[in-house]
Symmetry: C2
Subunit: 263 residues, 2 copies
């Protein structure tokens, strides 16, 4: 299960907005791989432009290659830019931080963030890899994904990100069932303390979830009224978003939308 390429690629996961440059030893420590090995992998990735080391300092950072790759994907299948618009609309309407993420292998990749303008807001460490089981976005996506993906993900041990994180697979399956009924997922400090997230899935042309949009609020500020407001905004934005990327919500989701509209 531990191919060399996998180890090399997982090094990329450590780069995020909060830590865009990392040193050799640091990466070795985090990944638990030997320094020599990490060094060799980094050299190869530099050779291919995925990484580069800043001239003066001895730190590694993401290279120009990733810009090219993203450009290619974005011109062929534009989604990132479409998401960004929705995020801005959401953030402006609710006055809280909104973010979007897409399925990226066995986790979620944050591909857009729009912070609220107000002072006390959730300033999430963007660009990070999000686990499926502890985030509202993860649950929202998982609830409308292929069962095989759910099984594969829940088979692995689930890390407790906070004291409230559900780590039992069966508990999560039950929550997914709820999400399928309501059409949205909530995460009350299960991924980060003091952060309450509400997320809604976004779909592909074939009716499976590909990502999610979400609003994150400081937990102490969340009220029932704000909840309803956010959920309504998410439903509206999800619809325009699905239209924008050619997503077709499955019947189960459309039923949830109808139930919410009737209430």
């Amino acid at each position: 299960m531990s191919s060399t390429v996998a180890k090399a690629l997982s090094l990329l996961d450590y780069f995020s907005d909060s830590e865009p440059e990392i040193g050799l030893s640091e990466l070795a420590r985090r990944s638990g791989v030997d320094k020599a090995t990490v060094h060799r992998m980094l050299a190869v990735m530099c050779d291919h432009g995925l990484l580069e080391k800043r001239g003066d300092a001895r730190l590694y950072r993401l290279g120009a290659g990733v810009l090219r790759l993203a450009r290619v994907r974005e011109t062929a299948f534009p989604v990132s830019s479409v998401f960004q618009q929705s995020l801005e609309a959401l953030s402006a309407q609710i006055g809280e931080t909104a973010h979007a993420s897409l399925i990226s292998g066995r986790a979620l990749a944050t591909i857009g963030v729009c912070e609220a303008s107000r002072g006390s807001r959730v300033s999430l460490v963007a660009g990070e890899i999000l686990p499926f089981h502890s985030t509202a976005s993860g649950l929202a996506v998982l609830a409308f994904s292929r069962p095989e993906l759910v099984d594969r993900l829940l088979a692995e041990p689930l890390a407790a990100r906070t004291s409230r994180t559900p780590t039992d697979a069966e508990v999560i399956r039950a929550r997914l069932q709820e999400v399928r009924l309501t059409g949205y997922a909530e995460a009350d400090q299960t991924n980060e303390d003091d952060v309450y997230g509400i997320a809604m899935p976004v779909f592909d042309t074939d009716g499976t979830a590909t990502g999610a949009i979400a609003v994150a609020v400081p937990a102490h500020r969340m009220t029932n009224d704000l909840r309803r407001q956010i959920i309504a905004a998410l439903f509206a934005e999800a619809e325009t978003l699905n239209a924008g990327i050619g997503g077709r919500p499955p019947a189960t989701f459309r039923a949830a939308v109808a139930r919410f509209g009737a209430a």
Copy 2:
């Protein structure tokens, strides 16, 4: 010399704007690696979100992971967005296609394109990996790079992209010397037939070239007058661009600018 990670990563190079989705056998054929091996690598890269296979078809395409990586790099070191502005200005002023590229390992990665609005224009296959020795951008960058990089690149065999491509290392070194004097590089159908390119380097904080901006014109339409016009525009745009990304042109380049201004 052929690490597995290198082979895996080089698979990514085959994805471009003209071919955003590729099948297993096709990739195996192009890379010259066995099908089984390629399959294993693709599986790993899918697992990490660098690639993904479209639900219905059996084709692989770049995954959401690359969007995240690009976002991280771009928020930490914004260059792509700055370049795009310059490209639009250039293209509008000259009326021809402009593009930008950055050093990405042992090649150039196109990170931005702005096509001219007129009918007959150079519509380059964007998002591709560009060789250093056959493109104006490559020569422009190489002329102001560290000698070690030049040596490393010219040590390898140079592919003839067209009948005019210089493949002799010494010939190229001579051209680099010219570029150092003039401050810009020209490529008359050395990378693609009927395409005449003029490029100018863009610098890093430490005075080494990191990329280039270029204008591509259908070769039959190039005139001496247009040449001068393009070069002047490139000089102007390169200056604002260097200011925008904090680049510091070295003395050799500043001297070239002065010589051009005096003429």
